[in-house]
Symmetry: C2
Subunit: 212 residues, 2 copies
């Protein structure tokens, strides 16, 4: 049985992860459908993620000062600051995708032949953040290993995209090449952050040294 303040931190982190999950799904939808309204929604909703990030820090500071947590609880209280930071950054990356849609609107942000690649990236990103919530809630460290699969998928899609952009069949010019490279990088970084959250949860649960 966890102390009430641990339950509160967990709840806030899971809420952040859920919001970030919605953001990346909606950002991907906006990207694939050139939907400005969806893009604007992603951008507007990031404010709440930022607020929760600050809330976590205040909460952790208050708890550290008043409750003198030890062992696992202390690791969670301190670690939650970094977990919230990673989730906040994931929210920013969803916003970057959405802003790219807004920038190019009413033109499509990506060439038609790359839609499938970005659909896959969006899927992997949504799955990975879903599992992030799961790991936080369940403390099931084996889930963290599963996440690695989605992260590998994202890395692979990122590399695949380079092959497409650099092939002699690429007819969309330099600007489109840069656009899709940066977009792809946003998804790839999103995955990295999700994995780092999962590793941190493992560190909290097991007390094992935290690898990068």
């Amino acid at each position: 049985m966890h102390a009430q303040y641990i339950v509160e931190i967990d709840k806030t982190l899971v809420l952040m992860a859920e919001l970030v999950g919605k953001s990346i799904s909606l950002a991907t939808f906006a990207l694939l459908e050139d939907d400005l309204e969806a893009a604007e929604k992603v951008i507007a909703s990031d404010k709440l993620v930022d607020e929760l990030n600050l809330e976590i820090e205040e909460m952790s500071s208050r708890i550290a000062a008043l409750q003198a947590p030890v062992a696992t609880d202390l690791r969670l209280v301190m670690g939650s600051i970094r977990i919230a930071g990673s989730l906040e950054r994931m929210g920013d990356l969803a916003v970057h995708v959405a802003k790219q849609v807004r920038l190019r609107y009413p033109n499509p942000s990506i060439p038609a032949e790359l839609k499938e690649t970005f659909a896959k990236m969006g899927h992997a990103a949504s799955k990975i953040v879903e599992q992030t919530s799961e790991v936080i809630t369940s403390r099931n460290t084996s889930l963290a290993d599963d996440m690695k699969i989605f992260d590998d998928t994202l890395d692979e899609l990122h590399r695949e995209l380079f092959t497409v952009v650099l092939s002699s069949n690429w007819t969309h010019g330099v600007e489109a090449a840069i656009d899709v490279t940066l977009l792809s990088r946003f998804y790839e970084r999103f995955g990295d952050h999700a994995v780092s959250v999962a590793r941190r949860v493992i560190h909290i649960v097991t007390g094992e040294p935290y690898g990068k």
Copy 2:
């Protein structure tokens, strides 16, 4: 007069900032001179930055548990986790630059006509991290405003580079365009993190709400 543990945290953060400053300077040198040895040094030296990052977290956890810091000291202890995280990420970005040099070696990583732009980016990045150390040591919140100037310079150079890459005079093809865009983004993100460190120090000193 600060408590001994605050002095220790400060010292470690400043050491991290100094190491990161050396890394970005050396990475820029490697980039401008196509110097593989310098690039390898940057990559190897990042291990120490990562270790200090973990040390800060352990230190902060220990202090939170044993010393029950309050007010400014509590904000520093909790905030130092995020400051260290930003500095660690700045180290990663210097490594990204160095790895790009290694990837393209013995070919140059950037076209000759962009050397001046990257030299300026490197200069701004070095200055901004220098001032990061200063802000941590001196708690001089006005320095944090000065840093904004170097961050603006980095943003401006980043935009300038897009103009060069997208102009009809660009003869280096898509791959080089992507390379320099990503490199430029690494410097731009480096500046963002430095500014976020400075804002956090202001938050610690003044207790004012921490803006993004």
